[in-house]
Symmetry: C2
Subunit: 151 residues, 2 copies
DNA sequence: CTAAAAAATGAATAAGAATACATTTAATGT
DNA sequence: ACATTAAATGTATTCTTATTCATTTTTTAG
């Protein structure tokens, strides 16, 4: 396993077990474990892992988003989408079984003004356009998700 | 409606419709609408609304967490929890119908080392302690959630 | 195995957010 | 209506994070 991958995995564990409230705090913890890294790199790692920041009564707090975003997940999304179709009023995405909710959430997070909302079942996601004229754009956006990374 | 409440509601709408990537950016948008506010206040507003920050390929991005945290929601949680009970191995929370998943998620987000995990059904949440000895602590934490605000 | 290209990283810095302190505004009880 | 208390807010500052630019490391193609 590459050094980077090892670090990313360790970061996930730490975020699940400790309250991390700054990049610097994590630099120190990792340092004590022999993983030497700078704040700049953690900033990039957080982006890659889809770490989100919330604000608690004790200040900021970094957590893993159980509802996947981030570059790492974006790559998986492509594999999970099987097909995209549409009619005059909406776009329908077919996914791996049990993955529709996850895909629907991912699409929601894109926060496109062309999308009114989504509904996820077990293996089917309905994407409701904010106007029917956006359907072609939405379809091509989803197709891009299947290959490149969107988001 | 108080000025503050009006502002908070407008912020929610804006976060749902535009890509906000900094406090200052939102200060400007609100200003153009005649809602005058400073960055400091938005910092507090975001905490209150449970706004989270994600990192996208276009930089930071502020969004409303559909999976509620934040002070505003913390107050609702109390109403939604009907009772707390426990046996030797776990804690059971009874909730309003359909609210168990939300409560379970809220408890997860507390990220307590005393809690291994939660399972939410329709109106029942199981809280699995990381050790049985923590059950009293967990129970009192939940009871506090029913009155004060925890989180 | 080597050259070329891509990815990862650090140092320094610019950009952004949180907070201490002071002040104003709103809410509450009498 | 007034006094008292609590909530909200702004200013200025400190603290934190994102990014630019340069460098090193890793990967890929030949």
């Amino acid at each position: 396993m590459s050094a980077k991958l090892k670090r990313l995995n360790r970061i996930k564990e730490i975020l699940n077990n400790k309250n991390i409230s700054s990049h610097e705090g994590l630099v120190k913890i990792l340092g004590e474990e022999g993983i030497q890294v700078t704040q700049a790199t953690l900033s990039r790692d957080f982006a890659e892992l889809g770490v989100i920041r919330t604000i608690t009564e004790h200040g900021p707090r970094y957590i893993l988003d159980s509802h996947e975003s981030g570059k790492q997940i974006a790559k998986l999304i492509g594999f999970e989408i099987l097909s995209v179709e549409h009619n005059e009023s909406m776009v329908l995405i077919r996914t791996l079984s049990g993955r529709a909710q996850g895909i629907a959430h991912f699409v929601d997070r894109l926060n496109s003004p062309e999308i009114l909302g989504t509904v996820g079942g077990d293996d089917t996601v309905l994407v409701i356009p904010s106007s029917q004229k956006y359907i072609p754009n939405i379809v091509s956006m989803v197709k891009k998700m299947m290959t490149e990374q969107v988001g």
